[in-house]
């Protein structure tokens, strides 16, 4: 495989292709007829996924630094150029994005019935933005992609969303923009400060990372600006209030991408920018304690609120708050295990929650209701659907053998040394997750079938099975044999910890650094 990729000079064009392909795809989508739009979008996103698959082999697993680097001047006078590159952490996020995209397109096949061209054009633009965010190595470029994602998602929620879509769309936009604009100021201040010391005006990630030590007393402010931007995106309690609205009102594809990819941009931002730039602030005892406390509050609060939701989609939305709390806890756990665990939670949350949203969407298309109380006992009517929902729910709970377990287990294991109490409390979050999902499952598909309307439900179509199959495969594969994924992330994770350790205060649990991860359930 590697030889084949070399022979077509894959590494030289792949990152550009991944960003440009969806944008080029927008043209035939907009110029074609309404009814062909989805076909074009499916072809483009599938092609994108196939192209991105090569990255799995093109990346050297043992190397922690950025690979496949490319640098094209954009605004040379200002030290801005289109720098892209990829490491193990970006790799899995990019692959997650490109995998979820064609599935989302397929899931919208019957759901989106009006203004289809516009919808699929938004989806493709969104894809460009999401891939761009994960590969950008220039802060200006990162910021542009970070913001550009907002507009298509704003339209996807606002045009094709549910009854309360306008409110949800503008709330989503303003929340995210408030954070990102503060980050913009922080970027400018940071670049200027570093320029005044080094004499080089550059927005390059590596340059800034190398000289971030000179920031001195401004570092806490800059970290605060970055952290708020990413905290809103994650979202960390108490910045989460946009999330239930946006997730519930968005059409299925929008929810899948919001939960599956866009939330991870927040945690990715912490891993890539906020912590490595300002380790001495981010990992100082005060800030660490604050973030860990907020993460644990998020875990418990999200789970408790999820438990009382009558609307299944809202339940899943709140469960995201809980899951992302684990990610934050793991990032601040400070060990290879905990950080890798965070990354695994990010991936498996993309699979599980993406799959849950897809299944809810399929149910909604049939009955036009997401209220748990409207269902009950449908396992007998729609056995395939019920089986899949059960598997996905179990994976989201963290059943050993499925993907959810690996990440959360690693996070808890890796964070315990540094944060025994917090980890202890967070563990109860797993129990709560079992409670709310199993209870919901019972009310949805078990219990007596008492609503006559549910007797006529049809089971999943072949298209819907095709949508679910890759996710179910991923759920089982990541649960049973996560080693290949972990191996690809390991070097980048180790490098992340090394950067954080070099400049930062003594990290909790750093004695365990370099411990090899072996997970064999």
């Amino acid at each position: 495989m590697t030889q084949f990729l070399d022979s077509i000079a894959y590494g030289q064009w792949v990152l550009h292709a991944l960003v440009l392909l969806p944008l080029i795809g927008v043209v035939p989508v907009l110029l074609g007829s309404e009814s062909r739009a989805k076909h074009t979008a499916l072809v483009v996103t599938t092609l994108e996924f196939l192209v991105s698959l090569g990255l799995w082999w093109a990346l050297q697993p043992g190397v922690g630094t950025m690979q496949l680097l490319s640098d094209t001047p954009w605004i040379p006078g200002w030290g801005i150029s289109y720098r892209v590159g990829i490491d193990g952490i970006s790799l899995v996020m990019v692959l997650l994005t490109t995998l979820l995209m064609p599935l989302s397109v397929l899931a919208s096949w019957r759901y989106i019935t009006r203004q289809e061209r516009g919808f699929y054009a938004c989806m493709l633009t969104l894809l460009t933005g999401m891939v761009g965010v994960f590969i950008a190595l220039d802060l200006f470029v990162f910021y542009v992609f970070f913001e550009v994602m907002l507009v298509p998602m704003y339209f996807i929620i606002g045009i094709w969303g549910g009854a309360n879509r306008l409110y949800a769309a503008i709330k989503f936009f303003i929340y995210t923009m408030a954070g990102s604009l503060l980050m913009l100021v922080a970027i400018v201040v940071m670049v200027w400060k570093i320029q005044s010391v080094t004499g080089i005006l550059s927005f390059s990630y590596d340059h800034l990372l190398e000289h971030a030590g000179v920031l001195g007393s401004t570092a806490p402010w800059l970290f605060a600006a970055f952290a708020i931007a990413f905290a809103i995106k994650v979202p960390i309690f108490p910045f989460h209030t946009w999330l239930p609205d946006a997730h519930v009102e968005a059409p299925t594809a929008g929810s899948v991408l919001l939960a599956g990819v866009m939330l991870k941009i927040g945690t990715y931002g912490f891993l890539r920018f906020a912590v490595p730039f300002f380790p001495q602030v981010a990992l100082s005892p005060g800030v660490s304690r604050l973030i860990v406390v907020l993460a644990v509050i998020g875990i418990i609060y999200g789970a408790l609120v999820a438990m009382v939701q009558p609307d299944f989609k809202k339940l899943v939305a709140y469960s995201s708050v809980s899951h992302l709390g684990f990610v934050m806890l793991g990032i601040w756990g400070g060990t290879v295990e905990s950080v890798q665990g965070s990354l695994m939670v990010m991936i498996s949350h993309g699979f599980s929650t993406g799959a849950l949203f897809l299944l809810i969407g399929m149910l909604y298309e049939r009955r036009h209701s997401r209220l748990i109380a409207d269902y009950g006992g449908i396992a007998r009517v729609v056995p395939v659907f019920s089986l899949m929902l059960t598997v996905v729910a179990l994976s989201s709970i963290g059943l050993p053998g499925l993907n959810g377990f690996v990440g959360e287990f690693l996070v808890l294991l890796g964070s315990f040394a540094a944060w025994p109490w917090a980890t202890g409390i967070a563990t109860t979050g797993v129990i709560f997750a079992a409670a709310y999902l199993l209870w919901a499952l019972q009310r949805l598909i078990f219990n007596p079938l008492d609503n006559p309307e549910n007797e006529r439900l049809t089971d999943l179509t072949r298209r819907e099975v095709v949508v679910m199959a890759p996710l179910l495969f991923g759920i089982v594969w990541l649960g049973l044999y996560p080693a290949p994924v972990l191996r690809r992330m390991e070097a980048a994770t180790a490098r992340y910890l090394e950067v954080a350790r070099q400049a930062g205060p003594a990290m909790p649990g750093q004695a365990r650094l370099g411990a090899t991860v072996e997970v064999r359930p």
């Binding site: 339209f155 306008l166 503008i170 303003i174 923009m177 408030a178 604009l181 503060l182 201040v189």
Partner: protein, 500 residues
């Protein structure tokens, strides 16, 4: 680089070539209009002649700019530097755009008086004087030529009460502001014995700024503050922008603002570069007040035109933030932002003029509902404008805000940038609903927007503006360079004089 001796009449004439060309064209159009002022064709003829005038003036300006004409020795009466050329170019572009918007509009509104175009040209000539003034007297003359023409233009729709109200209000408050300005000029002259900006700067460089000069500076700031509609001198702006015919509003929001800001920057940077401790707090206060008040009040507007009027006050605040550092970077940011804001605003008001069909004052958000379904091109253009005004990446508005942030941060100031971005977030609260109405609400009926016709000239103008907003937003490198270089010449002329 060509040197020009400004102390000779010939040199001065050459330096004032764009202004002279424009004035001659204005008289020519006036002459034509005095014979032909009845029919639509007459109005059109005057319009096209004026456009030709603007283009020749642009050519004259380009001739000066390309040859990099600069003064031989001290700049006398009129400046010869990149800053003037760039500011004049923005003013001329605003004039050209407004003429294109007016071409179909005046016929539709039955405002068939070719004098409209004469006034517009004279006003533009005033702007050029204002943008190039190296002397407080020239500055005042330019300001008055510009203002008097704009007063009349604002009240051009004589049958409309609001238009007349706008003219009267603008005239009274404008006269008041001119009084402040003139008093300030007198005081500064009293202290320094000169009205030449560079010489004032040289005079004040060697000593502590006397109280009288400080007072004069304050009065100058108040006078110019009125013209750029900075809070608390903004009271006229919403009513005037609202009442004036929409192409005139576009012209005021882009051209008048550009010229006034150019004059403000030149006065502060050339005459008072040593008094930054005096004027920086004032400019910062004006900027903060404008950003906060303009954006917050715009939130609660129902009418689109009035919303844009208040938002222009907010944008004046952003521009004042760029003035604050008193640096080369800040001046460059002012130039770039003026162009960015000008392009965007011109297109926005252009769309509005044609959406209104005679009642632009009453176009509310709900009147745009579902526009995207039947008129996708108009909706797309307006959406791009809203995003650019919001400062969204991919549009030139973002590049403008970015430049301002950089210029201010480079002076070690972080409070103003933070307020700037926070008020930008507030502005999303009124820009986004426009997009929302067009794209996300259903149209009241299938024929709602059937009557909208963009005249070909207006369509061309807004199409070019929207395309420029996008293209310059994505490839801003050359523009940033140009703005930086143009602004660079400004401080260079001031410095050698300041240390004789």
């Amino acid at each position: 680089m060509t040197r020009l001796d400004l102390s000779t009449p010939g040199g001065l004439m050459l330096a004032l070539l764009p202004e002279i060309v424009l004035t001659v064209w204005a008289l020519l159009v006036l002459l034509v209009a005095s014979w032909r002022h009845h029919t639509e064709q007459d109005s059109r003829l005057a319009g096209w002649l004026s456009l030709a005038g603007v283009i020749t003036a642009l050519a004259a300006l380009a001739a000066l700019w390309v040859n990099d004409v600069s003064p031989d020795g001290l700049a006398h009466m009129v400046a010869l530097d990149g800053f003037r050329y760039a500011a004049s170019a923005v003013a001329l572009l605003a004039a050209g755009g407004s003429i294109l918007l007016s071409l179909g509009y005046l016929e539709r509104e039955r405002l068939l008086a070719p004098e409209y175009y004469v006034l517009l040209l004279l006003c533009t000539a005033g702007m050029l004087f204002l943008a190039g003034a190296e002397d407080l007297i020239v500055l005042f003359l330019g300001l008055e030529v510009m203002s008097v023409a704009v007063y009349v233009l604002a009240g051009f729709d004589r049958s409309d009460v609001f238009s007349s109200e706008a003219a009267l209000k603008y005239f009274l408050i404008g006269a008041f502001a001119s009084g402040f300005l003139l008093y300030g000029i007198a005081l500064v002259y009293g202290v320094t014995g000169t009205t030449n900006l560079s010489l004032i700067g040289a005079q004040l460089a060697t000593r502590e700024v006397p109280g009288m000069a400080a007072l004069g500076l304050g009065l100058l700031l108040i006078g110019l503050g009125f013209k750029v509609s900075a809070v608390p001198f903004h009271m006229w702006a919403p009513d005037v922008y609202d009442g004036a015919p929409t192409p005139v509003t576009a012209f005021m929001a882009t051209g008048v603002k550009a010229a006034a800001f150019a004059a403000l920057v030149r006065v502060l940077l050339e005459a008072f570069p040593t008094a930054t401790a005096l004027w920086q707090p004032v400019v910062a206060a004006l900027a903060i007040a404008s950003m906060v008040v303009g954006n917050l009040v715009a939130l609660s507007q129902r009418s689109l035109k009035r919303m844009l009027a208040y938002s222009s006050i907010g944008h004046a605040g952003y521009l004042l933030v760029a003035v604050w550092p008193g640096s080369r970077g800040g001046a460059g940011a002012v130039l770039l932002y003026l162009l960015a804001y000008g392009l965007t605003t011109l297109a926005s008001f252009g769309f509005l003029a044609y959406l209104g069909r005679g009642g632009e004052r009453d176009v509310a958000l709900d009147d745009l509902a579902g526009l995207a379904r039947t008129r996708p091109a108009i909706a797309f253009g307006l959406a791009v404008c809203m995003l650019s005004l919001l400062g969204f990446p991919g549009t030139v508005g973002f590049i403008g805000k970015w430049y301002i942030l950089t210029a201010v941060v480079a002076e070690g100031q972080a409070i103003l940038p933070v307020i700037l971005v926070l008020t930008s977030v507030v502005s999303a609260g009124y820009y986004l609903p426009v997009i929302m109405a067009m794209y996300m609400r259903p149209a009241p009926g299938p024929e709602t927007y059937a009557g909208i016709r963009l005249s070909p000239t207006a369509a061309g103008a807004v199409a070019i503006a929207v395309a420029a907003v996008l293209v310059l937003g994505i490839w801003p490198a050359d523009l940033l360079d140009l703005a930086g270089r143009s602004a660079g010449t400004l401080t260079q002329t001031a410095l050698p004089v300041a240390t004789p």
